[in-house]
């Protein structure tokens, strides 16, 4: 290519990316830096600020609620990451078989992922409703496991587990899609060879499927940790009493005694963790 063509091409390229990159720079990169700046101030909703130095950070590190929310987040992350990965893998193996109505089934299990959180949380609220819900009906009236109807979502401790179950339900389809795509590319003769070697289905799963899926599993786990670390809506809308880190940040920033500086400080710390995870993802996963 002549140098004029190269020059034209690079000029066109820059022109085409400019709007998207400009918006991203203005609304993602700049806010990240602005957030760091805000974390050193006492910030009001109306925008007025006073410099307080590291005060937001020292107060935060002395706040038991902060540690509590980190603890809740850790339980939430462990539960949802393991749950979505295992269920996603199981669903992918199941849907990789041939059977009648397979396309219908494949479509239906993607629904939870696309449905608006706001709609489905009410369905889940109703299922666990202490008076009308099917959960209490089954546990108390049918199986007689306990004598009293419980409000699982009303109690923050049990609500955490409802939220975990809800998020597994909502997000396993994505893990499932990634696994299914990989499964379809596993060469059939690997399974045939394993079958000739006398491996039963479990042995074939253990010796063929799992090693082939190793990298996708790592990808799914890492992506889920990254997304769920920031997850707000599912938790807040289903059970606002489950205080994961994002919910705690939201309360600091927009509810009760507003302290946007403290919220900014939490976000800065969380972002550092996130950058570490993203670095791991880029370094390890994308290099595979």
């Amino acid at each position: 290519m002549s140098s004029v063509l190269i020059k034209n091409e690079s000029r066109l390229g820059l022109k085409l990316v400019a709007p998207a990159v400009g918006i991203i720079g203005l609304l993602v990169i700049y806010p990240i830096l602005f957030n760091l700046y805000l974390s050193f101030f006492d910030v009001q909703l109306n925008g007025s600020k006073t410099f307080v130095g590291l005060n937001n950070y020292t107060e935060l590190l002395g706040n038991p609620r902060y540690y509590h929310s980190i603890g809740v987040s850790v339980i939430y992350l462990i539960g949802t990451v393991i749950g979505t990965t295992v269920l996603g893998l199981a669903a992918a193996i199941l849907m990789n078989q041939t059977f009648r109505f397979r396309n219908l089934a494949r479509g239906l299990i993607l629904l939870p992922y696309f449905a608006p959180v706001i709609s489905v949380v009410f369905g889940w609220q109703f299922i666990f409703d202490p008076v009308n819900g099917i959960y209490n009906h089954v546990v108390v009236d049918v199986l007689h496991l306990t004598n009293e109807r419980e409000n699982l979502i009303g109690n923050p401790d049990s609500a955490l587990f409802v939220v975990i179950l809800f998020d597994i339900w909502k997000h396993f389809p994505i893990a499932y899609l990634l696994f299914l795509a990989k499964l379809q590319s596993v060469p059939k003769d690997l399974y045939e060879a394993a079958a000739i070697d006398g491996q039963n289905p479990w042995g074939r799963f253990w010796h063929v499927t799992l090693p082939e899926l190793r990298f996708v599993i790592a990808t799914v786990v890492l992506l889920r940790v990254i997304w769920n670390l920031n997850r707000f809506e599912d938790v807040y809308l289903l059970a606002p009493n489950v205080e994961t880190l994002p919910i705690f940040t939201y309360y600091q920033a927009f509810a009760g005694i507003v302290d946007q500086g403290a919220a900014a400080a939490i976000s800065v710390i969380q972002l550092l963790v996130l950058v570490g995870l993203i670095w791991l993802y880029v370094r390890k996963v994308l290099k595979w």
């Binding site: 085409l16 918006i23 991203i24 993607l110 369905g123 997304w227």
Partner: protein, 320 residues
């Protein structure tokens, strides 16, 4: 290798598939069922209503006949006074007829539709330009941008809510309804742009370059080749990406709640539903009917785009 299945294996397979599908679909059936039940029927654990009761839907869609207005006797006497102008009478009556009972669902749906539609169009358009450049052209800082998109794509909204809110306060956008909606639109754009760029970039790479080359031999410029060759060939994918962005914007709650709180007329559906749920008008059948109507457009979109969606999501990495 899966051709020879014993009957036992077949039964197990279908049972597992059925269990999985029920797990996925049950909450939707619960919503549908409750939305159709009469309040006396809520304690009935069966999903099938004893009588199908459509009042909740009628109410939300404004199909209910106007209720008889209850006017206290003292006010009635005032109204009967011939000295009172017709205009004043209307104003008095309005006070009693527009109780807190009215939930302008149609308006919220329109708000949500407009902002999601504009977000979808703008995001798909800007992303297709950028994705084409990153996939096909060479320019300075290209790989930095390609990787930067990945990074941006993983920074969640929660980390940006404080600075974005403060920015919109500082430039004065937060003080008017129009400015607030504009801020919200920009925020939805960045929530969807990286995903859209990813999906489209990977798709454009699957189109053979020789097609553009041939067009350029015939005298098209690069831009014309993009418009005439790449865009038409990518129609299904562009549509899928549009739907994806539309749905993300349609479902968004966090920023809507932060930005639109004080502008009730401009609430989007997720925000309005949450407000309805915590208000005194929270009645299960109405909430469920509203949920159902919020779901419906998403399900329609999903059915329209399903064929390309699975592929696009796995190729493009996945958000959410």
């Amino acid at each position: 290798m899966m051709n020879k299945r014993t009957p036992l294996q077949s039964v197990t397979l279908y049972a597992l598939v059925l269990a999985l599908v029920i797990f996925c679909v049950f909450p939707f059936l619960q919503i549908l069922s409750t939305s159709l039940k009469h309040p006396i029927d809520w304690g009935n654990p069966s999903l099938i209503p004893r009588i199908v009761h459509l009042d909740a839907y009628k109410e939300l869609l404004g199909l209910m006949p106007a209720k008889e207005v209850d006017v206290p006797a003292s006010i009635q006497r005032l109204l009967d006074n011939p000295a009172l102008s017709a205009e004043k009478k209307q104003m008095l009556l309005a006070k009693f007829s527009s109780g807190g009972d009215v939930f302008p669902f149609g308006r919220y749906m329109l708000n949500t539709f407009v902002i999601s539609f504009i977000t979808g169009i703008c995001s798909t358009f800007l992303a297709s330009l950028a994705a084409y450049a990153i996939a096909r052209l060479r320019f300075p800082a290209q790989s930095l941008m390609a990787n930067g998109v990945l990074f941006v794509y993983m920074v969640g909204g929660v980390l940006l809510m404080v600075p974005l809110y403060q920015m919109s306060v500082n430039v004065g956008l937060a003080s008017s309804a129009g400015g607030t909606i504009f801020s919200l639109f920009l925020i939805y754009l960045i929530q969807t742009l990286p995903v859209a760029m990813y999906m489209l970039g990977n798709y454009f790479r699957t189109i053979p370059f020789s097609l553009e080359e041939a067009a350029m031999m015939d005298g098209c410029s690069r831009v014309e080749a993009f418009w005439r060759i790449i865009m038409p060939l990518s129609k299904p994918m562009l549509f899928t990406v549009f739907i994806y962005c539309f749905v993300i914007a349609w479902n968004e709650y966090l920023f809507a709640s932060v930005f639109l709180k004080q502008y009730q007329d401009f609430h989007t559906l997720p925000l309005a539903l949450q407000t309805l749920f915590t208000s005194k008008n929270a009645i299960w059948d109405r909430i469920m009917a509203a949920s159902m109507l919020t779901l419906l457009p998403v399900i329609i979109c999903f059915m329209l785009a399903n064929r390309h969606l699975s592929g696009g999501l796995t190729d493009g990495g996945v958000k959410g």
